[in-house]
């Protein structure tokens, strides 16, 4: 019988892991079921809701559609790896300050997605609402841009209004405004 499992070496929040997994295992299930990191949430399990968003080598991806075997060698960052000791990541703090959640199930995905989204903004990545106009960075981040860029994260409680406020606040900080 040919092997349908693999040894996966993967870095998660700075720690190296070597795990034998069934090839069907996604990064999401590896995190939750094998490594005990349950901060990353399973919502739709089809790449549509964004609750499972993690950073893969610094980029946001849906961990439910990423096979663990395919992610071997990658460095993963989850919501558990964002804070520095007791000090929350600025995006986490902004979610607290702006009350940007209700039930909280989508929040780890929203926060991981936002961390990477703001990094994309700092690298002047355009979005669909940018159109043909140039996008120069945090100074061009407005509510329409935030909503478009966070389109892969659904919130069934409808906390979008405060999520947008939280991220616009960080955008102001990024361009040096109070």
């Amino acid at each position: 019988m040919p092997r349908t499992d693999s040894v996966v070496r993967i870095e998660v929040n700075g720690a190296d892991h070597e795990v034998t997994v069934d090839n069907r295992t996604t990064v999401l299930d590896l995190l939750r079921e094998h490594l005990g990191l349950t901060g990353t949430k399973k919502g739709c399990d089809h790449g549509q809701c964004g609750a499972c968003t993690v950073l893969v080598d610094g980029r946001r991806m849906n961990s439910c559609l990423l096979l663990a075997v395919s992610a071997g060698g990658a460095a993963i960052r989850t919501v558990e790896g964002l804070a520095t000791g007791e000090e929350l990541h600025p995006v986490q703090q902004a979610f607290v300050d702006c009350d940007a959640l209700q039930c909280g199930y989508c929040t780890p995905g929203q926060i991981c997605s936002a961390v990477a989204m703001l990094d994309e903004v700092s690298h002047a990545w355009p979005s669909a609402v940018t159109g043909a106009a140039p996008f120069t960075g945090p100074g061009d981040l407005d509510a329409a841009e935030v909503r478009e860029r966070m389109n892969g994260n659904l919130c069934r409680c409808g906390a979008y209004v405060n999520i947008v406020d939280a991220l616009l606040g960080i955008g102001l900080t990024m361009r040096g405004e109070p």
Binding site: H46, L66, L67
Partner: protein, 329 residues
């Protein structure tokens, strides 16, 4: 999900050999469509050959002004590339109009071209579907077909092709370079996709085991004046009801050259060749744009639930061309 073996490809030739030798094998790129289809039970491969790590990840502007895109380039990297934005805006706009930031970071350009339809019946293994299970029938004609095709359909299948990128590449006359066991060949994107006919299970002209290596976009004197517009049920993160990729070259008020391709209306990106031919040399007026695309859409065979796509496509094409003409005035 059926258990499967996994091989990480070290070079294109061995990946092609592995998949070609095994009808049960599939290439794995970003996995955003294939892994989803495996969860749904639509795809049940026994072997995945992972090509996502192959060194074909460059975006290169060639000396003649053409663009060369490696098949493993991630959708987001192509979309935000400053030279692509400047010289082929329709490509960037098409990519950014699709999916989410997370999916664009994972999805590869080659995989984007070979993604499967999002037809509800195709994705539901409890339903008949001639594309997924040949000969079982198509419930879409009598059922839910609001987002289905109006052009190029057959009795067997009315599913649409879902890619935005492919629509833009169709308008730009791009070619894909394909590696197979017998060597390399070039396929124009306009000839990559099949119409369903009696064999809707075959989306493309590629043989099992052929791998897209790169995409070449030829130089164009007017691709800088191109745009993509997408109409859908919600403002973001949805497939197209109708989309349009267009490029327009106007001089002295007359159309010198034009490219129009439609998405969301056919089993493949629909190049509006008769509309293009009707417009060349004619005054670049709103009325002429409407006449040209109306003639193209006379071939449409809509169903009761998707007849709205005919006027929608006409209006969106005319509007995009008007905007491009306005921008060059």
């Amino acid at each position: 999900m059926r258990p499967f073996r996994y091989e990480r490809a070290t070079d294109a030739a061995s990946a092609v050999a592995l998949v070609s030798a095994d009808p049960d094998a599939r290439f794995l790129g970003g996995g955003t469509n294939l892994v989803d289809l495996m969860k749904l039970g639509v795809e049940r491969p026994g072997l995945l050959v992972d090509v996502s790590g192959l060194e074909r990840s460059g975006i290169e502007v060639l000396a003649d002004g053409g663009l060369r895109i490696g098949a493993q380039v991630r959708n987001s990297d192509l979309a935000v590339d400053p030279l692509v934005r400047e010289r082929f805006p329709v490509l960037s706009q098409a990519l950014l109009s699709g999916a989410s930031g997370q999916l664009r970071n994972a999805a590869t350009v080659g995989g984007n071209l070979l993604q499967r339809t999002r037809c509800l019946y195709f994705q539901d293994v409890t339903k008949p579907c001639n594309k997924r299970a040949p000969g079982t029938g198509c419930p879409a004609r009598a059922g839910e077909h609001r987002d289905m095709a109006i052009l190029g359909t057959s009795d067997a299948c009315i599913a649409t092709h879902p890619s935005d990128l492919a629509v833009a590449l169709t308008a730009l006359d791009a070619r894909v370079n394909v590696v197979g066991v017998d060597g390399v060949r070039t396929v124009p994107v306009t000839e990559l996709y099949r119409l369903p006919g009696a064999e809707p299970e075959r989306d493309t002209v590629l043989q099992h085991g052929e791998l897209i290596e790169r995409i070449d976009v030829p130089p164009s004197s007017f691709a800088t004046r191109s745009a993509y517009r997408k109409v859908r049920d919600r403002a973001s993160f949805a497939f197209a009801l109708v989309s349009v990729a267009a490029a327009l070259d106007v001089a002295d008020g007359a159309v010198q050259d034009v490219r129009v391709a439609l998405g969301g209306v056919a089993p493949r990106p629909w190049r509006a060749t008769s509309a293009e031919a009707a417009l060349r040399g004619r005054p670049a007026t709103a009325a002429n744009f409407v006449d040209a695309i109306s003639a193209e859409l006379e071939a449409a065979a809509p169903l009761p639930g998707n007849a709205f796509k005919v006027p929608l496509a006409r209006n969106v094409v005319a509007r995009v061309l008007e905007d491009l003409a306005e921008a060059t005035r």
